[in-house]
């Protein structure tokens, strides 16, 4: 859906659901997911419908993902960091993670 302009920043290694994803410095988690072509980042806790980042400005809460073990974080507000483990979410969050 998206391609990067040539000038994008230095590469940052994160994992998404255990798989290596090449993010760039300056990416937020949500931007990295979009750039990697990951179609959806969660399913809803209501109907289980797939959702993907929508507003990228902290408003819509569609980009909720688990980051380094902590669930329901707004991916569009969190900058990527080397070694970061991102997990997509399925339905309701599990208490305790």
């Amino acid at each position: 859906m998206f391609k990067r302009l040539a000038e994008a920043g230095a590469s940052v290694a994160i994992t998404v659901d255990g798989k290596q994803v090449a993010a760039r410095a300056g990416d937020t988690v949500a931007a990295a997911l979009i750039a990697a072509g990951i179609a959806h980042c969660r399913t809803t806790p209501v109907s289980g419908a797939p959702r993907a980042p929508y507003c990228l400005m902290g408003v819509c809460f569609e980009c909720l993902v688990t980051i380094d073990g902590v669930g329901s974080r707004q991916g569009c507000l969190v900058p990527v960091r080397d070694g970061m483990a991102v997990e997509t979410q399925t339905g309701k969050r599990e208490a305790g993670r």
């Binding site: 109907s47 419908a49 408003v59 909720l64």
Partner: protein, 469 residues
């Protein structure tokens, strides 16, 4: 990185939001000697209009345009002013005593302010069409953010739908960056010209006029523009095609990405939670705070600057921020030197001049604001237009009762993407007005914080006693 524990317990001025209004306000106030802190929840300052202004990987200045790069100066000034600028800092509470709840990297604090300038800007108006929750459908603002901050350009089959200045600006930016657009679906009703025409003379004199015309020509030369009064996103686990109405029926376009935009509206959540009085703006079809000439709200010591005060654009936002900051300086340090407010007011008037024309011209059609049938209204709780309409028919006459009945507005976004739609749907269904219907009652936290963060806040003995038994 500033941590929550690094913050002082109080500041003379707390500025919430690091877009043009917030940056200009913080810079002016700090230079005049007020102890000033600016909080922004994003990784960097700039707000949405100057998103990633200090870090954008887009080096070809022509792509985002010179208007974007003027934001750099605001960021530099704010940094040099001595104001403490804290990014990654989410303000989740503001009360009438100007106690500010802040969360930084999972740590919450309460900070007392003598004055507060809320500069939380705008958000895109909800665009509730069938299928707008499908992966592959994004807000145009979202795509613009990805371009500014990460240098990401749409690459597949891309359709842009809606109306308003930002839509055309984004189209131009995508094209200049080497992106391709398969079509622009222009949803602006032609009849809007009737109301807009009266304001054309002002618009012609405003800075928007020549810029706007140039932009339209630039985009129209490269992209098919189709007028439509109906747009639908169709797909299964993601968007597959865009269906839209034309004069002679219906057309379907295979698409990977549909970008939606029908203008921006003030981001009112924090101000409403703080108890600020709001009023309905019929021209811009949104609620906005009731403010005086210095942008002071109905709550003493709380001002609202920038697009949060009513949509007027980035340049006006900075001037509004300065006016609000001068009022704060006058109140707290009358002897300090501050710029002449009259000159700033003149600049602001010039900036606001073309607004009426743009507002009337780009006013979204009823059908794109008041959906029907199974179209989702509340994305978080998956509440449909039919449910809201049926419940209004049952006797539910306001959004707060609606929330209790259907859970609309109860999810994590706290009504930001459904509030206006629910208000307008109730008004339409019950034959009344948005003024009569009103808006959601909002309370802290206006953005989620963890239970542990809430638990870490100071507790007075009486407050503990009110719960323990």
């Amino acid at each position: 990185m500033t941590k929550a524990s690094d913050l002082a317990s109080s500041y003379e001025l707390v500025v919430i939001g690091g877009g043009p209004a917030g940056l200009a306000a913080a810079a002016l106030a700090a230079r005049a000697g007020l102890s000033t802190v600016l909080f922004d929840e994003n990784p960097g300052v700039g707000g949405q209009i100057y998103r990633a202004i200090t870090s954008s990987p887009v080096k070809d200045r022509a792509v985002l345009g010179e208007d974007y790069w003027t934001g750099a100066e605001l960021a530099v000034e704010a940094k040099a002013s001595g104001a403490l600028i804290v990014t990654g800092a989410t303000v989740w509470s503001l009360d009438p005593t100007r106690l500010v709840g802040i969360s930084i990297a999972g740590q919450a604090r309460l900070i007392q302010a003598d004055r507060v300038i809320v500069a939380t800007g705008s958000l895109e108006r909800p665009f509730p069409i069938p299928g707008w929750t499908l992966p592959g459908v994004m807000s145009a603002g979202g795509a613009q953010t990805a371009l500014k901050a990460q240098g990401l350009v749409p690459s597949g089959r891309t359709v842009l739908a809606g109306g308003g200045p930002l839509l055309w600006l984004l189209a131009a930016q995508i094209l200049r960056a080497g992106g391709k657009l398969d079509a622009i679906l222009d949803t602006t009703p032609r009849v809007n010209w009737l109301r807009a025409l009266a304001h054309l003379p002002d618009f012609v004199l405003s800075p928007y006029f020549s810029k706007g015309l140039k932009l339209l020509r630039e985009v129209r030369a490269k992209v098919r523009v189709i007028r439509t009064d109906r747009v639908e996103a169709v797909g299964d686990d993601r968007l597959r095609e865009v269906v839209f109405g034309t004069g002679d029926g219906e057309r379907r376009m295979p698409a990977d990405l549909l970008l939606l935009h029908q203008g921006v509206v003030p981001n009112v959540n924090l101000a409403i939670a703080a108890g600020v009085t709001h009023a309905w703006n019929e021209r811009q079809l949104c609620f906005e705070p009731v403010l005086d000439g210095d942008f002071t709200s109905s709550v003493p010591g709380i001002a609202i600057a920038g697009d949060g005060a009513g949509i007027a654009g980035g340049t006006a936002a900075a001037e509004r921020g300065r006016i609000a900051a001068i009022a704060a300086v006058r109140a707290l340090k009358p002897a300090a030197s501050a710029p002449d407010v009259q000159i700033i007011r003149q600049k602001l008037r010039r900036e606001e001049m073309g607004r009426a024309f743009l507002d009337w011209l780009n006013r979204p059609a009823d059908s794109f604001r008041q959906p029907t049938g199974d179209t989702i209204v509340c994305r978080c709780e998956e509440v449909t237009a039919r449910q809201v309409r049926d419940t209004a028919d049952m006797g539910c006459e306001g959004p707060n009762q609606m929330k209790a009945f259907l859970r609309c507005g109860m999810g994590p976004c706290q009504g930001r993407l459904c509030g206006l739609t629910v208000t307008e749907l109730i008004a339409a269904q019950r034959g009344t007005t948005p003024v009569e219907v009103g808006y959601y009652r909002l309370r802290p936290p206006v953005k989620p914080i963890t239970l542990a963060e809430l638990a870490s806040l100071p507790i007075a003995e009486a407050e503990r006693k009110a719960v323990e038994r």
